[in-house]
């Protein structure tokens, strides 16, 4: 392992010298909060600090380094212009407690973004408060809960297909519903007969991921939604895969009542490593009054951050979500424009279809090579032929400087490899991925042991995932 910044520390070394601090107790700070000994800080020069962070920045894999086809996560390249705008002191220097008149620009950003997202998704109102995809899901489910409370209906079931995002059942549970998995049909979509059997007067919500995690659009979406509505259920769309639909089809037009989207996936704000993200939630008019406060309203030419107590869901986050992430998303939207949105989905779907076709010679794709923004290949044949698992293939990819696809999900595909190339990758990058996969398959046949030991070139070798799960050590002492 590389040296830590503390390993590099040398007593007395400084990058900058500051003028001496006056002795005695600083004014206004109670004694109990004052240090009794100096803070444990590394003592290093500026060059060492810069080299330390530069070295750290390449230890991990990230989109600024190389290809990151992690299925379902939309790890596309994020234009640096978004960062420049978010770093503008006119935005980064403001505080949410300032008077509305002082922060008209920031309020306009949020109001405009809400409006644009409503148009893109075909919904009537948006809340930007959710700070992650799953946070948005939770808000969406809580809205459904309040919707039925208000109508005096005690419904308990939420139907979730087995090709939905893994976080969906957890959000359902948090809102006090029970998740019921419905099995997909042979084509990978919702089986209308199975759905009809599962729907009843106790069903609160049908929760769909569109396109689903197999990268397939629900061809019978109108019938599916109609079927749920006829039972009085709401239809929720997990919009994490919205980059496949941008500028082409709108969830609201399909009949969805609630949707969450992931700004950090579809709208090009940084993500990975735990955030910060943003999971705005859009609703149809019948649910708009249930959205939490604060809300941004335009009142006679002045934007207001209006506080209040919703009859629906109370606040789920301090202030109004992750503002800087919303700002980046709006910067991205303004730059690509309406036509640009359709080009994004075209490129996302074309890249995935090109890659699916090329990869299918090496790894079969059980649900077909005609997909939307992602596809799921199977490593089952390779496992049976030479004992090499999908996990080994994924680890070997790291040696070629490519992030592994999502593996072993969804469960409907054995030894699953879920690949999402995203719209920002060139044909050359896709071709390189195929060439690497070809080489890995050749290695698997000639020398399966090589793959079992991969990776060889990463900062750490194969991790002991079993011990990490059975005896996790989640706190490490600083010294």
């Amino acid at each position: 392992m590389a040296k830590t910044i503390f390993d590099r520390s040398k007593a007395g070394r400084r990058g900058y010298r500051f003028s001496p601090v006056p002795s005695g107790r600083p004014e206004g700070i109670p004694g109990e909060y004052l240090r009794t000994r100096p803070a444990l800080l590394p003592e290093v020069g500026e060059a060492e600090v810069v080299r330390h962070y530069t070295a750290l920045s390449v230890l991990n894999h990230h989109v600024d380094k190389d290809f990151y086809p992690l299925g379902s996560c939309t790890m596309k390249y994020n234009p640096k212009m978004n960062e420049d705008i978010a770093a503008n002191p006119a935005f980064s220097g403001i505080h949410p407690e300032q008077d509305d008149e002082d922060v008209q620009g920031a309020l306009e950003v949020m109001h405009t973004l809400e409006h644009k997202l409503s148009i893109i998704c075909g919904m009537d109102a948006f809340s930007l408060q959710g700070v992650a995809g799953a946070h948005g899901e939770m808000l969406g489910m809580m809205l459904a809960r309040r919707y039925f409370d208000e109508r005096g209906e005690a419904r308990s079931k939420v139907l979730v297909p087995d090709t939905a995002h893994g976080t969906n059942p957890a959000s359902v549970h948090l809102a006090g519903f029970t998740a019921h998995t419905i099995k997909s049909g042979a084509d990978g979509g919702v089986d209308l007969d199975v759905l009809r059997d599962a729907l009843d007067g106790d069903t609160a919500v049908l929760m769909l991921t569109v396109p689903n995690t197999l990268g397939l659009f629900e061809r019978r979406i109108i019938d599916i939604i109609d079927c749920a509505h006829r039972h009085g259920a709401l239809c929720y769309m997990d919009g994490a895969n919205l980059n496949a639909l941008l500028g082409r089809a709108r969830p609201g037009d399909m009949g969805f009542d609630i949707i969450h989207i992931n700004l950090h996936k579809t709208f090009s704000t940084p993500h990975g490593g735990g955030g910060p993200g943003a999971g705005p939630v859009g609703v149809k008019r019948a649910l708009a009054h249930l959205l939490p406060f604060p809300r941004v309203e335009l009142d006679a030419g002045t934007y207001r951050l209006v506080d209040g107590v919703s009859t629906g869901v109370r606040s789920i986050h301090s202030f109004y979500g992750n503002f800087a992430i919303c700002l980046r998303a709006l910067a991205y939207l303004e730059r690509v424009g309406g036509e640009g949105l359709a080009r994004i989905s075209a490129a996302a779907n074309l890249n995935a279809n090109y890659l699916a076709k090329a990869v299918s010679d090496l790894f079969p794709i059980p649900y077909g090579t005609r997909c939307m923004h992602e596809f799921v290949a199977s490593g089952q044949d390779l496992k049976q032929a030479c004992g090499v698992r999908t996990l080994d293939v994924a680890k070997r990819l790291l040696d070629f400087g490519i992030h592994a696809p999502t593996i072993y999900f969804p469960l409907v595909v054995p030894e699953a490899l879920m690949v999402e190339p995203t719209e920002t990758e060139s044909k050359e990058t896709l071709d390189r991925f195929v060439a690497v996969m070809k080489q890995i398959v050749a290695e698997a046949k000639e020398n399966p042991g090589l793959l079992a030991g991969a990776p060889y070139s990463c900062p750490v070798r194969r991790l002991d995932e079993v011990s990490a799960n059975r005896q996790p050590v989640v706190a490490a002492p600083l010294q």
Partner: protein, 128 residues
């Protein structure tokens, strides 16, 4: 009991029924344990819990995935394998023996007829 004498579900559970068909031990097959890989945590129902045929009664967490554990029969949980709490790897080592999950007091013996025999199960997983 040998696997040849057990009954099986499509969800890869085995059921070992006692002589008078009043009680059954339940576990998952060697095939299921192999597919899941290293099991790291198992959540089982409590003793005395009512379980329903083909409804989830617990979860099995492996390194690569989390799977629902379905009850193959309706009835009341009469015993739980407490060793699995701290040593879930027993299931990988001995799926048909020490890795049993629960015993169920059978409410409806008729449900046993819906289970597969060993030959049919092996055929289903393509091992025959």
């Amino acid at each position: 009991m040998k696997p040849e004498d057990m009954r099986f579900t499509k969800e890869h559970e085995w059921v070992a029924v006692n002589d008078d068909a009043s009680e059954a031990a339940v576990g998952i097959t060697d095939y299921a344990a192999g597919e899941l890989g290293d099991i790291v945590y198992i959540e089982l129902p409590k003793e005395g819990a009512h379980v329903r045929c083909m409804q989830p009664m617990g979860t099995i967490e492996a390194v690569k995935t989390v799977a629902d554990l379905y009850s193959p029969l309706s009835g009341v949980v009469s015993a739980v394998n407490k060793n699995l709490e701290n040593s879930p790897e027993i299931v990988n080592k001995s799926p048909f023996g020490d890795g049993w999950f629960v015993r169920i007091r059978i409410a409806d013996a008729g449900e046993l007829d819906r289970l597969m025999n060993y030959t049919a199960y092996r055929a289903m997983i393509g091992k025959e």
